[in-house]
C-alpha cells in the first residue's frame, strides 16, 4: 500500500494529466466572456490603448496568460525536459507523460487558433 492515501493525489494528478485542456477551457471562457461583455457596450468596446482596440488587446493578454501558466505547470513537474526529473513520479511513466504533453500540444493549437487567428482576421464587435 502506498503511504499516502491515493485519493489525495488523484485530483492533482488528474488535473496535471488534463492541464493542457484545462488551460484551453480557461482561455475559452475568458475571451468569450470578455468579448460578450464589451461588445454589448459599444462605448467600452470603442476604447483603445496605444492605437490598439481594447477588445483585441485584452484577448491578446488573455491568450498569453494561460499559455504561460501551462508552461509553468509543466516545467514545475519536469515534463518539459527529457529524461529524469524531480517532478511527480507517476509522470515519468510514458502513459502519463505522453498524455499530458499531448493534451498540452492540442491545447496550444486550439488556444492559438481561437486567440490569435480570431483577432488577426476578424474585426471586433462587428
Amino acid at each position: 500500500m502506498t503511504s499516502k492515501p491515493c485519493e489525495q493525489r488523484f485530483v492533482p494528478a488528474f488535473a496535471l494529466l488534463l492541464s493542457g485542456f484545462i488551460a484551453w477551457a480557461v482561455h475559452f471562457g475568458l475571451i468569450y466572456g470578455y468579448t460578450g461583455l464589451l461588445c454589448g457596450r459599444p462605448d467600452w468596446a470603442r476604447m483603445s490603448v496605444g492605437g490598439i482596440g481594447i477588445v483585441p488587446l485584452g484577448i491578446a493578454v488573455m491568450t498569453v496568460l494561460p499559455l504561460a501558466a501551462l508552461a509553468a505547470v509543466l516545467a514545475r513537474n519536469g515534463l518539459l525536459r527529457a529524461g529524469a526529473n524531480d517532478g511527480e513520479a507517476l509522470f515519468e511513466a510514458p502513459f502519463y507523460r505522453d498524455v499530458t504533453l499531448g493534451a498540452a500540444a492540442i491545447g496550444l493549437v486550439a488556444i492559438v487558433w481561437q486567440g490569435v487567428l480570431s483577432i488577426w482576421l476578424v474585426p471586433s464587435c462587428w
Binding site: F10, F95, A103, A110, I119, V122, W126
Partner: protein
C-alpha cells in the same frame, strides 16, 4: 496468516476451493423470482433490460421517422396534418436523443463496465435500477402523449418564445419540459454511478494506463454529463417557471432574452453529440482489436483523443447559433474550437486504420459495422468541419444539409458502433450468438440505406430546402431527391427488422451459461462469469489480459485469484484506488429491494401528474417518492463487519468512510452537478444583465439594505460551523454506543438556521418590492432564491434522516458515511447560499444600482 504481497508474485488463493464457497456465491447473487423479480438489481439484469428499453425507443422513434419520410416522399403530400408532422419531428428528435441515444450508451455501460473491470457489480446497483425504472416509466408515458395529441411540437430544441405560454398555451410543451427534465435526472444518476464505477471498482492492477479504452470513454462521457446536463436542467427549470408563473426569462418586452435559452440549450446540446459518440468510439476501440486479433495501436493517443474530445466539445455550442446575430469575433472562437475538435477525431480514425493494418481483419458482422462506421462517420465529420466555417454555415444552417450532416455523424458515430456492439457482445449475455448470415443482410441494408437516405439530403439542403417543413412545392424540384431519401429510409427499416428477427431467433438471455469467448477477445468481459460476474478477481498486468496472461480464465474460474467467494456473507465488491487500482476495501453492496423501485414509480408519477396539472395527486406521489427513497437509504451504510482476507495475505476492511469511500466520491460528483447547475443560473443572471443592463434592476426597484444579506450570510456561516463541530464531535462516539445527544442537538439547531437564511432573504427581496413576474431581473433573483430554498429543503430532510439514524444507533465514530454525506451537502448548500447573496445583493451595487 501469510504476509501481504502486493503486487502478487504468485496466485493469491489455492484450489480446490472450500466446499460450498461457489454455491454460497451463487445463492447470494441469485435474482429473486416471481413478482419479486421486479426488485432485481444486478447489472447483468438491469443492463440488459435497460438496453432492451433503449432499443424499443429506437424502434418507436424510427417508426415516427418512417411516417415523416413517407409524408415527404412527394411534394404537396397530404398524408398527415401539419400539426401531427410537427409533433412527429419533435418526438423523433427528442426520443432519439433523450430516450434512445443517451440511455442506450449508459445502459450498455451498466452491463459492460463491471464485466470489463472484473467487478462484481457497479458500486450503487440500486441507483442503476432506480434510473432504469424511472426511465422506463417516464419514457413510456412521454411517448404515449403522442396518442392523445399532447406530444410536444416545438422541436427537440424547444426555442422560446414559440414554446412559452403565449404561443404554446397547451400542455404539449410541459410534457417536454417535465418529461425530459426528469429523464435528465435519471441520466445524471447513471453518470455518478459510472464515474465511481470506473474509478473505484476495477480489477486489481488495472491502473489508468491499463484501463480499457471503453472505460476511459465512459469516464469522459459521465464527466461530460456532469457538466453539460445541468445546463438543460436549468433551462427547463426557467422555461417551466415562465410557462407556469409568467416569470419573464425569455420575454424581451420584460427584459428577458430568447437567446438565453439557446445558450443554455446548446451548452448542453453540443456536448450531447459527443456524449453519444464517445462511448460508441470506445466500443469500436474494444471490438476492432478483437476482430484483428491484435492490440489497439496508439492506446495513449486514443485516450488523449477521448479526453480531448470531452473538453473541446464544450467550446462549440454557439456554432448552432451562428445565424442569430452574435458578434463575428465571438463566432470565430467557436469556429476555431469546432475545427480543434476535429483533431481528436482524426487521431481516433487513424488509430483504427493503424489497428486494421496491424493484423488480419476478420470480416465478421461486428467488423462490417465498424467499417461502415468509418465510412459514414468520416463523411459526417468532414461535413462537420464545413458547417464550422461561419460563411458556409450561413447558407446551410437549418437546411437538409445539416440534417444529412448530423444523421451521418449520429448514425455513423453511434448507431453503427452500437450494432457492432450488439453482434459482438451478445454472446456474453445469450446462450447463442446472433446469426452471421442475417447479420450481413442487416449490415448491407443499413449501410446502403443510410447512404441512400442521407447523401441526397446534402444536395436537397443546398438546393434550398429548410428543415422541419411538413411539405414542399413541386416547382422547386426537390421531389426526386426526397423520394430517393424515402426509399433509403425503408431500406434501413428493413435492416432493423431483420435484426429484430435475428434477436428473436437467437437471443436467449442468460447470466450464467453464455456462449463464451466466441471471438477470442483479450479483455476481461470475456472471462467465464456467473451472475456474480467472475469467480475471482485477477491482478491485471496488461490491457488484453486474456491474451497476455496465460491460463487466466482457468485460474479466475477456479477461484485462485482475489475474493473467490462472498467473504462477508453478502453481496460485495472490491473497491480499488483510482489511479493504480490497488485493493482498498470491501464494499458491502445492497441486493434486491422494493423501495428503489417504488421510489422510481412515484418519482415518475410526480413529474407526469404535474405535467397534466393534477397538483394534489402529484404532491402525494412526490411525498411518497421521498419516503421510499429514504426507506431505500435507510438500509444503505451497513454495519461494518470484521476485516476479511481476499487472498495472498491481503486483508481489507469491510467499511470505509471519509474521502477514501465510494460514497464520499459520489457525493462530491453530485456536488459538481449542483455547482454546475448553480453556475448556469449565475450565467443566466449575468447574461440577461449584459444584454439589458438598464433592466438590472429595472427602474423603480431598489436592492434591499445591506443588513439583510449580512444576516443571512451569518446564518449560513453559523450553520456550516455547527455541522463541522458535529462532525468533530462524532469522532468520539464509540462504535457500540447508541446515538450521541450532542450530535443530535447540533443537527437540530443547524438546520433551522439554513431555513431562516433562505426565508429571510426571500422576505428582504419581497419587502423591497421585487416581484418575479414583473421583470427579468426579478425573475432571475427569485429563480436563484427558489433554487437555494430547494437545496435547503433537501438538507433539512437529510439532517432529519441523519438524526433518525443517530437516534437508533446507526451512526457512530466509525459508521459515519451517512453523516459525512449530509455534512458535505450541507456545507455546499451554505456556500451556494453565500454566493447567491453576493450575486443578488452585492453585484447590483457593484454595477451602480445601490440605494
Amino acid at each position: 496468516m501469510r504476509p501481504a504481497v502486493y503486487p502478487p508474485k504468485e496466485l493469491p488463493n489455492v484450489s480446490p476451493r472450500p466446499a460450498g464457497e461457489l454455491e454460497a456465491l451463487e445463492r447470494i447473487w441469485r435474482a429473486p423470482r416471481g413478482i419479486h423479480f421486479l426488485t432485481v438489481v444486478n447489472n447483468n439484469y438491469i443492463g440488459v433490460f435497460y438496453i432492451a428499453t433503449a432499443l424499443l425507443f429506437f424502434i418507436l422513434a424510427g417508426i415516427l421517422a418512417m411516417i415523416m419520410r413517407t409524408q415527404l416522399a412527394v411534394p404537396n403530400n397530404n398524408l398527415i396534418s401539419p400539426s401531427l408532422y410537427n409533433q412527429l419531428f419533435t418526438m423523433h428528435g427528442t426520443i432519439m436523443m433523450f430516450l434512445f441515444a443517451v440511455p442506450a450508451v449508459e445502459a450498455a455501460s451498466v452491463y459492460l463496465l463491471p464485466n470489463m473491470q472484473a467487478a462484481r457489480d457497479l458500486p450503487f446497483p440500486r441507483l442503476s435500477a432506480f434510473a432504469f425504472w424511472a426511465y422506463l416509466i417516464g419514457g413510456t408515458v412521454f411517448f404515449c402523449s403522442l396518442f392523445v395529441g399532447l406530444a410536444p411540437d416545438g422541436g427537440w430544441f424547444m426555442y422560446p418564445p414559440l414554446t412559452s405560454f403565449k404561443f404554446s398555451p397547451a400542455d404539449n410543451a410541459d410534457f417536454w419540459l417535465l418529461g425530459i427534465g426528469f429523464i435528465e435526472i435519471s441520466a445524471i444518476a447513471g453518470a455518478i454511478e459510472i464515474i465511481v464505477g470506473v474509478l473505484r471498482t476495477r480489477a486489481p492492477g488495472q491502473g489508468l494506463d491499463k484501463l480499457p479504452v471503453y472505460s476511459w470513454a465512459m469516464l469522459v462521457f459521465a464527466g461530460m454529463i456532469i457538466f453539460a446536463f445541468p445546463a438543460i436542467i436549468i433551462a427547463t427549470y426557467l422555461l417551466e417557471l415562465e410557462r407556469a408563473f409568467q416569470w419573464p426569462f425569455f420575454i424581451s418586452e420584460q427584459g428577458g432574452n430568447p437567446l438565453l435559452w439557446q445558450h443554455l440549450f446548446w451548452f448542453f446540446g453540443h456536448p450531447e453529440v459527443y456524449i453519444i459518440f464517445l462511448p460508441a468510439a470506445g466500443m469500436v476501440s474494444m471490438i476492432l482489436p478483437a476482430m484483428v486479433q491484435a492490440p489497439l495501436v496508439g492506446y495513449r493517443l486514443v485516450v488523449l483523443a477521448v479526453v480531448g474530445t470531452g473538453f473541446l466539445s464544450f467550446g462549440l455550442w454557439v456554432h448552432h447559433m451562428f445565424a442569430t446575430g452574435i458578434p463575428r469575433l465571438s463566432l470565430s472562437f467557436f469556429s476555431a474550437a469546432s475545427m480543434a475538435v476535429a483533431i481528436p477525431s482524426g487521431i481516433q480514425v487513424f488509430a483504427w486504420i493503424a489497428t486494421i493494418a496491424s493484423g488480419k481483419l476478420r470480416l465478421h458482422t461486428p467488423a462490417l459495422f465498424i467499417l461502415g462506421f468509418l465510412f459514414i462517420f468520416t463523411l459526417g465529420g468532414l461535413t462537420g468541419v464545413m458547417v464550422a466555417l461561419v460563411p458556409f454555415d450561413f447558407q446551410v444552417h437549418d437546411t437538409y444539409f445539416v440534417v444529412a450532416h448530423f444523421h451521418y455523424v449520429l448514425i455513423g458515430g453511434m448507431v453503427f458502433p452500437l450494432f457492432a456492439a450488439f453482434y459482438y457482445w451478445i454472446p456474453t449475455a445469450s446462450k447463442r450468438p446472433l446469426s452471421e448470415r442475417l447479420g450481413r443482410w442487416v449490415f448491407w441494408l443499413m449501410f446502403l440505406g443510410v447512404n441512400v437516405t442521407f447523401f441526397p439530403m446534402h444536395i436537397t439542403g443546398l438546393m434550398g430546402m429548410p428543415r422541419r417543413v411538413y411539405t414542399y412545392p413541386e416547382f422547386l424540384n426537390w421531389g426526386s431527391l426526397n423520394l430517393i431519401s424515402t426509399v433509403g429510409a425503408y431500406m434501413v427499416a428493413a435492416g432493423v427488422l431483420i435484426f429484430l428477427i435475428d434477436l428473436v431467433r437467437n437471443f436467449r438471455f442468460t447470466s450464467t451459461d453464455d456462449a463464451g469467448n466466441v471471438w477470442n477477445s483479450g479483455t476481461l468481459e470475456w472471462l467465464p462469469a456467473g451472475t456474480y460476474q467472475t469467480r475471482s478477481m485477477p491482478y491485471v498486468t496488461s490491457r488484453e489480459p486474456l491474451w497476455d496472461q496465460k491460463g487466466l480464465a482457468e485460474d479466475v474460474e477456479a477461484g485462485r485469484w482475489y475474493l473467490p467467494g462472498a467473504q462477508t456473507g453478502g453481496r460485495e465488491a472490491l473497491v480499488t484506488s483510482p489511479i493504480e487500482a490497488r485493493p482498498q476495501y470491501i464494499l458491502q453492496i445492497p441486493g434486491p429491494g422494493w423501495p428503489h423501485v417504488l421510489g422510481a414509480v412515484f418519482t415518475a408519477a410526480f413529474f407526469l401528474l404535474l405535467t397534466v396539472k393534477l397538483v394534489i395527486p402529484a404532491l402525494v406521489c412526490g411525498v411518497l417518492a421521498v419516503v421510499f427513497v429514504l426507506l431505500w437509504m435507510w438500509d444503505t451504510d451497513p454495519e461494518p463487519k470484521p476485516d476479511v482476507e481476499i487472498g495472498g495475505g491481503l486483508t481489507l476492511p469491510t467499511y470505509m468512510s471519509g474521502p477514501s469511500s465510494h460514497s464520499w466520491w459520489a457525493m462530491v460528483v453530485l456536488m459538481l452537478v449542483a455547482g454546475t447547475s448553480f453556475a448556469c443560473l449565475v450565467f443566466s443572471y449575468l447574461f440577461l444583465w449584459t444584454t439589458r443592463p438598464e433592466q438590472f434592476p429595472p427602474p423603480g426597484i431598489t436592492v434591499p439594505e445591506l443588513g439583510w444579506p449580512a444576516i443571512c450570510a451569518l446564518m449560513y456561516v453559523a450553520s456550516a460551523g455547527l455541522v463541522v463541530i458535529a462532525g468533530r464531535q462524532l469522532r468520539t462516539v464509540p462504535r457500540s454506543g447508541v446515538g450521541s445527544w450532542r450530535l443530535q442537538l447540533l443537527l437540530l439547531s443547524g438546520a433551522p438556521l439554513l431555513v431562516c437564511a433562505g426565508l429571510v432573504d426571500l422576505y428582504s427581496q419581497w419587502g423591497a418590492g421585487l416581484r418575479p413576474a414583473a421583470s427579468s431581473y426579478g425573475a432571475t433573483v427569485y429563480a436563484v432564491m427558489a433554487f437555494q430554498i430547494f437545496f435547503i429543503a433537501t438538507v433539512t430532510i437529510m439532517a432529519l434522516f441523519t438524526l433518525a439514524k443517530s437516534l437508533v444507533g446507526r451512526i457512530n465514530g466509525i459508521r459515519r458515511a451517512t453523516f459525512d454525506n449530509t455534512m458535505l451537502f450541507w456545507l455546499y448548500t451554505a456556500g451556494q447560499g453565500i454566493v447567491g447573496l453576493a450575486l443578488t445583493h452585492l453585484f447590483p451595487r457593484l454595477i451602480g444600482a445601490g440605494p
